[in-house]
Amino acid sequence: MYAFTYQKPTTIAAAVAALGADADAKPVSGGQTLIPTLKQRLAAPTALVDLAKIPELAGITVAGDTLTIGAMTRHATVADSADVKRLIPALAALAEGIGDPQVRNRGTIGGSIANNDPAADYPAGCLGLGATIVTNRRELAADAFFTGMFSTALDDGELVTAVKFTKPKRAAYVKFPNPASRYAIVGVFVAETAGGIRVAVTGAGAGVFRATALEAALASKGFAAASLDGVAVSADGLNSDIHASAEYRAHLITVMAKRAVAAAG
């Protein structure tokens, strides 16, 4: 790691001010991606602004069918939350499958989506559920938030403060993990929401995306695994590496989608 300074503000405003004061400062929430990156000297922030002590960022609240999860909420907390399990069990299950138990005890939803790793799980959950990303400045639809590999619509000085989810009619997430890293080679989140059927895919491309061909098939033929029989996803633009070719990933998207639809019941 390169040397850096460290601050632990207690308000969002103070955090934003600290980040604004130094162009090379970075926020750290759980640190489960950032710290390994720093250890490999792949990033060289001059300052780390720790968001862990900001009470406004913590906690899960429920209002009717809407679940609001504070940005600093740990994956293990989401996985264990009775509210999440009751309203959106697929989201609790997704959180339960992120990384390993130690990562889940430290990693946060805000950190995960702000980082937008192309193989992370939460972006698929947010996009699949049509979540609303709340920042210190505005609210953004997930469709507008995730903009590509490790990139989001966040501006400088803008922090994710919470994510709002609305209870879907049904949903499920099924992941095909990389056998080594256990990140998603392909993860598919399917949901039948008030706004329609959504199929979000992580791991397969440069960033999380919606599989429109699958959505159309489910919409037209009904929300059933059989509706996806023979529906192929194009391999164009998908990732290809030593673990999985683009063609294999394309195949897995349909398979995982079918399994997710079946699991959603």
Binding site: R41, P179, A180
Partner: protein, 793 residues
Amino acid sequence: MPDAPSNYQIGASVKRREDLRFLTGNGNYTDDINRPGQLYAYILRSTQAHAEIVSIDTKAARAMPGVVTIYTGADMAADGIGGLPCGWQIHSKDGSPMVEPSHPPIVVDRVRHVGDNVAVVIADSLAQAKDAAEAIAIDYKALPAAVSVTAAVAPGAPLVWDTAPGNQCYDWHLGDKAATEAAFAAAKTIAKVDIVNNRLIPNAMEPRAALGDFNPSSGEYTLFTTSQNPHVIRLLMGAFVLKLPEHKLRVVAPDVGGGFGSKIYHYAEEAICTWAAGKLKRPVKWTAERTESFMTDAHGRDHVTHAEMAMDGEGRFLALRVSTKANMGAYLSTFAPAVPTYLYGTLLAGVYKTPAIYVEVQAVFTNTTPVDAYRGAGRPEATFLLERLVDECARVTGIDRADIRRRNFIAADAFPYQTPVALQYDSGDYQGCLDAALAAHNYAGFPARKAESEKAGKLRGIGLSTYVEACGIAPSAVVGSLGARAGLFEVGKVRVHPTGSVTVFTGTHSHGQGHETTFAQVVADALGVGMDQVDIVHGDTANVPFGMGTYGSRSLAVGGSAIVKACDKIVAKAKKIAAHLLEAAEADIEFKDGMFKVAGTDRQKALAEISLAAYVPHNYPIDELEPGLEETAFYDPKNFTFPGGTHICEVEIDPETGVTRVTQFTAVDDVGRVINPMIVEGQVHGGLAQGIGQALLEQCVYDAAGQLLTGSMMDYCMPRADDLPLFYVGQHTTLCTHNPLGVKGCGEVGAIGSPPAVMNAVIDALKGYGVTNMDMPATPEKVWRAVQSGRKH
């Protein structure tokens, strides 16, 4: 006085005495050790697979905070530091010696693999050393790289060494070529396989580390290191690299967190830290980060082989011919040349009475990390090709896979059995192992289980591997004639203290094997004392007279035998003392359960009474015997030992994704006499995980330019708990006939026997799709593609 034991310890699952310190965080691994005034070394490593070093500019780095010095290869050369030696010399078919390039601890003008050592920064802290390393400017002139063995032997391939045309290290052979060719000419059926034995990266959980220290007043150097064989490191580093006499060099291998072969070798960092400590008169510590381990720990396997079996009309094996290309990497690591030859070619008879065998092996330099002995070393490669080939023999002849093995087994009454490839097996019962494994596995129930899987849309397969391996290395005269530059005996020293407790010094090294427990069991029985009266000391050249270390499943068979021999000497001397004390003839003294008794009387002395007399020799046969009770034995084994057995693997495949899961695994092994069943089973479990890992998960991948694509655990798939099933591990024992304990060795059988069982099961599951062969690892995509192409047919 200790009580005589109520029963014998050998054969009991005694709980491990080393566990308490490991379970409470009180282990003492190399990186746990710190010395006053210690400096930290960071090795700057090549980012290039093959390049000339045009220049190295360390000026800016030297000015960085905390930097004490920076050394390059030129600095070491100027001090007369030698290259890392190779311990084995192989000769080619034409009698010429192998090409043996120099291996300086830090390169001088050319890097030959990613991770090659370019410079060492020594600073007050590790962070400062790393900061400074980034400020070193190296001007590389990139050269084309030869990466895979296949590419490296192609005409016009870039040369790793100008002295090795065609990148050939040696071209070796073994066996009777003419007899083999004649048998093939007469064969009714020939089975053929092309085999790639995938390259593995060891990944012992403790990264390598070295801490060098120098005492100016005594002139003595001390090296703490993560080694399986501290005396070997002292010998190699002292005599060849640093040119220090042994009495001024102490090497300590404290608790070591796994080795699996990768910590046998003398590595550059050991020499660098020791040498730098002497120059700077301060301790110098280096600890690998895992990323460095991936680039610099010697890798394993990496063979490309074509093999053919000639059969008669009844599926009896007539002859085997094998042609292998073995990747040596960029330099010859300590044991490397021996692995694809004397640990491989000699194993090709397997458990079968194949009368004629001919094998040729071409060892090839490439621009990759050196490859050396790893967890089985040569025998997994031999076993894999043979057991895959035997399955192919069954397929082409239509004979059942178990039957064709039975038909060709060396019979249980045929021992000692001389193979056509130089080994003489002393004992075994291959049919017995197979029968026991088939029963334990419920082999007969497979069709029903397969039907259940099919109902769930899954494919199920079952695979066998019947294997033998050669370990307990090794008779010194034999290995000397085969090119070894050292003997492979072992040393045991037994010190009975005045009050009867016992300290045992062994030249082997325990890094997970449990010697402190197993060896104490052996000594407790040999001397008739309680386990609590025996301590085992290892891992320090200042304590242990000498030793060749732990590898090749040799510790008990060779090191344990040395201890038994030393105990025999103790008993022999104690009998003389007892005869004197009991005023009897020496011939009348019987020794049993720790008591020296005059035969036919109730007059007796306990070992502790005798040891007291030996150290307080007031009433003592002083004219005939020296005082004291301490004996040392150097034991040179008469032969290798030959564990064997049957492994059965059952897999279930999801044809939609290609994911393969091992559902059941049965291993029935013959490891000779079992001293501690709990430990033996644990050793086998670990080997099975490695074998299943090699077959399904693990693979070292370089790109064509020589960049390591599997350079971390993010991309190199380490087997995890949820990748593996519970194992059934059983024994079917025949005793080794030539060592005093009757033991054969258990450390590597799991890794040797299991990979072909897994792959034979995968191929069996996929046979409906026309699959007859598949390279390891059977990754999901590979299996899925096999299913896809099978469907298209």
